[in-house]
């Protein structure tokens, strides 16, 4: 009896893995380019990870595992040796060697691209032999491997042959062979890309690893309009849809033909405040900057009813946030991310203590096409702050104009979301809390917060390799940010995906589905 069951199970499993299937995937946006070093853009990375691989990759739960490199070791704190996988072939048949890694490093650091961050701290890549490279670092780097996940390897010979040694200059509307064609080592070949229409993938028969699912063909269709995208899933035109509009999730859950795969994204939505300018630009308060007063920032925090935003605006699809990093990011622990309920009276009292018993006006800048329900959340905030006497003047704009405005510090308060590509809290701390410099430090510290204690913690963390010590620093920095109310964290986004009943895949917290996990029964 037992044996028969086992046999049957093995038979079914055997059949299922060999059965080829097409996965039709609908999402909101198209990719910008096929050049893996050109644009640091979430959708583009999500598609290109199917074709181009890095030295390392993430497991299902975001641990780093070998990919094009089979092992690595620290030779010194600033020198890491990578042993490359042997027998790997690019899609055009040429072998993968150390030359390709050296070439790709030289390519990704070119200034016209926007992906240099993924090799930040790497001074040089040295070829030792055909299957060994050494990365020379400018200092010890505890998150090096996580950064390298999105450093994708291109073939040197192919790039040279097709005159694509240089990264496409996307901003200058340049096109190159590599921006229209792909030649990676990954699980899927890109057969066709018709911009704004579809991308067709075929499984790579010569891939060094095995597909965990059975999707041998994938067709990606960008569908801008929310209603059309959902209609495509309901009518069966696509098998899986990402970028679900929140108001439709409940309906999709009730649909017997479909299922919804829940999961969170490692992205935190928050409000930042100008804590640098001597006077706010759009405020009724003249001669001083009320956001420099911690009591005012605390009042802004206390007035926000995060549960109401979760229930009404987000329809349950958010995790109310007290700290600036989401669950799943290293450094996040539930005990420091406990949200206190809204306290209107307490907030009013704080404002009165700070000398604003009648509140004041200020400007609030928001994107209206970037985060889930961004403009609606801002409208809700305007209402919540109005109850404690603060009048926020909302200016909601498309991301492109919004981001230019706030990067010029032309704001009093602004909404932003911060995703963590490295799954490590330092990424957020360094970008958002570290005193602004011209480089990566404080690159998005747009409120120009400057806290010497936080700065020294963050700088120490960058090179601290003792895990325990570093974890303690990470925690201290996140708690200090919270208790000084430098930001108003709102929530961590949840990003469910909807699919037909017969489709299964692994939800990824970076919101990038990987077709190698997808199976269609």
């Amino acid at each position: 009896m037992k044996l028969r069951h086992l046999l049957a199970a093995a038979l079914i499993a055997g059949c299922a893995t060999t059965q080829a299937a097409t996965l039709k995937w609908g999402a909101q946006n198209d990719i910008l380019t096929l050049d893996p070093h050109s644009q640091n853009h979430a959708t583009t990375h999500g598609i290109l990870q199917h074709t181009y691989e890095g030295l390392v990759r993430y497991t299902k739960d975001f641990q780093v595992e070998p990919s094009l490199a089979t092992s690595w070791q620290l030779i010194s704190p600033t020198q890491v040796r990578f042993i490359l996988r042997k027998g790997v072939k690019f899609h055009d048949g040429s072998p993968f060697t150390a030359d390709d890694v050296v070439f790709s490093y030289g390519r990704i650091i070119q200034p016209q691209g926007t992906n240099q961050i993924y090799v930040s701290g790497v001074k040089e890549v040295k070829k030792i032999d055909d299957h060994t490279v050494d990365l020379i670092l400018s200092g010890p780097n505890p998150v090096l491997l996580r950064l390298l996940v999105d450093f994708r390897i291109m073939n040197r010979a192919w790039s040279v042959k097709n005159k694509s040694e240089n990264v496409q200059n996307y901003v200058a509307k340049e096109e190159s062979y590599a921006s229209r064609n792909a030649n990676g080592t990954g699980p899927y070949l890109i057969k066709l890309w018709e911009p704004d229409k579809r991308i067709v993938f075929a499984a790579n028969p010569a891939w060094w690893d095995k597909l965990q699912g059975n999707a041998t063909e994938v067709i990606y269709t960008p569908i801008k309009a929310d209603a059309t995208r959902i209609a495509a899933l309901l009518s069966g035109d696509v098998d899986i849809v990402t970028d679900l509009p929140t108001q439709d999730v409940q309906r999709l859950r009730n649909e017997p033909k479909l299922k919804v795969l829940d999961g969170h994204e490692v992205r935190t939505i928050f409000i930042g405040m100008d804590q640098f300018s001597p006077e706010l630009k759009y405020s009724s308060v003249k001669g001083k900057n009320p956001f420099k007063d911690m009591r005012v920032r605390k009042a802004l925090n206390l007035a926000v009813d995060r549960e109401a935003i979760k229930r009404v605006t987000m329809r349950g699809l958010s995790i109310p946030a007290a700290i600036m990093v989401a669950p799943g990011v290293h450094g996040h622990t539930p005990d420091i991310d406990k949200v206190s309920p809204a306290d209107v009276e307490g907030a009013k009292k704080l404002l009165a203590e700070a000398g604003y018993p009648n509140g004041f006006d200020f400007g609030l800048d928001c994107p209206n096409n970037r985060y889930v329900n961004d403009e609606e959340i801002c409208q809700a905030l305007v209402g919540m702050w109005a109850r404690i006497g603060l009048k926020a003047k909302l200016n909601a704009q498309p991301m492109a104009t919004f981001i230019q405005k706030i990067q010029k510090f032309d704001h009093d308060a602004y909404m932003l979301g911060w995703g963590v590509a490295t799954f490590d809290g330092l990424y957020t701390l360094q970008s958002l809390m570290r005193t602004k410099t011209t480089g990566a430090d404080g690159s998005f510290n747009l409120g120009r917060i400057s806290d010497a204690k936080l700065d020294s913690l963050i700088d120490a963390m960058k090179t601290e390799t003792d895990v325990k010590k570093r974890d303690a620093m990470l925690r201290e920095a996140l708690v200090a940010t919270r208790d000084n109310y430098y930001y108003v964290p709102l929530h961590h986004q949840l990003r469910p995906w909807a699919m037909k009943k017969n489709v299964s895949t692994v939800h990824k917290a970076d919101d990038r589905p990987e077709s190698r996990f997808a199976r269609i029964d």
């Binding site: 929310d226 209603a227 959902i230 509009p245 108001q247 439709d248 409940q250 309906r251 009813d305 109401a308 935003i309 229930r311 009404v312 605006t313 609606e376 409208q379 809700a380 305007v382 209402g383 919540m384 702050w385 109005a386 109850r387 009048k391 909302l394 200016n395 704009q397 104009t401």
Partner: protein
């Protein structure tokens, strides 16, 4: 002269009143129009909530269904939208913008159209040919395209913040400009007839200024048709405004018209919150239908041939 005019006006009113009393549909239409206009004009005093005062909003009340449904609340007769605003109140405030824009656009159209029609008909010649050819060209475009064109141009010309503040005026201008042709053509036709009549010639003989002749002699005799066109045009203007706002190029959501409300509510239609878009839609239909019925009645009542 004044006595004669007063007597004429009284008789006219009496005539209209008689035909009004005989038509129950018209009475109903007038009643509904009165309700719509009344609740729009007096919205700040009669609306149950003030939906655009952020301090009174409670997000927790968002998506409350209409009061007669299971989960409804007696506080919100027609339910609430995604921000917890009372739908009935937003409709009242929305109708205010819709009616305001409609009326202002009609006034603008009528002024422009009547003036051009009078000049064109009375002066004739090259000016007449020019104005009428422009009218012909404009008639070959749908009015909505012209309104879109004007709106689009101001969007490019004005910075965003300024455009939002001026959106209502831009809309009035866009709809107004797109509708002047009917007035101009009608008035030109009537003017051509009137200008050769003896009273006009008499005025000319005694040396009155042409402008005075136009304003004092010709204009009063061509206003009948203008009144009819204007009434029907109000309905068209409201629809055009709603269409533009529905397309997202009309008034901003911070001061929504009925069209904006329908557009915003449209996002929630499929997820089951039908009341956010259906009620503003119904309000728009009722408003436009009753104004149209009134216009039809006016046209018939003023046209002796149909009596």
């Amino acid at each position: 002269m004044a006595a004669v005019a007063g007597w004429l006006r009284r008789a006219w009113a009496h005539d209209l009143a008689w035909s009004f009393r005989r038509s129950p549909v018209t009475i109903l239409a007038a009643f509904l129009t009165l309700v719509c206009v009344g609740s729009a004009v007096f919205a700040p005093w009669v609306a149950p909530h003030s939906p655009f005062d952020s301090a009174t909003l409670n997000l927790s009340d968002g998506f409350t269904p209409p009061s007669w449904t299971e989960k409804g609340s007696s506080k919100y007769l027609l339910g609430t939208d995604d921000q917890g605003r009372d739908v009935l109140s937003t409709i009242m405030y929305g109708a205010r913008i819709s009616l305001g824009v409609g009326l202002a656009a009609v006034l603008f159209s009528a002024t422009l159209g009547v003036s051009l029609g009078l000049l064109s008909g009375y002066l004739g010649g090259r000016l007449d040919a020019f104005i009428m050819r422009v009218a012909d060209i404009q008639l070959s475009f749908p009015a909505i395209l012209i309104a879109l064109l004007i709106d689009g141009m101001t969007r490019i010309a004005l910075p965003r913040d300024m455009h939002d503040q001026l959106a209502v005026y831009v809309l009035v201008l866009a709809i107004g400009v797109s509708g002047w042709v009917q007035y101009a053509r009608t008035v030109r036709g009537s003017t051509l007839v009137e200008k050769n009549k003896e009273y006009v010639q008499a005025a000319r003989v005694i040396g009155r200024h042409p402008l005075a002749i136009l304003l004092h002699h010709v204009l009063p005799n061509v206003t009948g048709p203008v009144l009819v066109i204007a009434t029907i045009h109000i309905a068209t203007a409201i629809i055009t405004e709603a269409t533009l706002s529905f397309l997202g190029v009309g008034v901003p959501p911070t001061q929504p018209s009925l069209g904006t409300l329908i557009r915003v509510g449209n996002d929630f239609l499929f997820s089951g919150e039908w009341w956010i878009t259906v009620f503003p839609g119904a309000a728009l239909i009722v408003l436009v239908l009753s104004v149209n019925l009134l216009g039809d009645w006016l046209r018939d009542a003023l046209n002796p041939k149909l009596r």
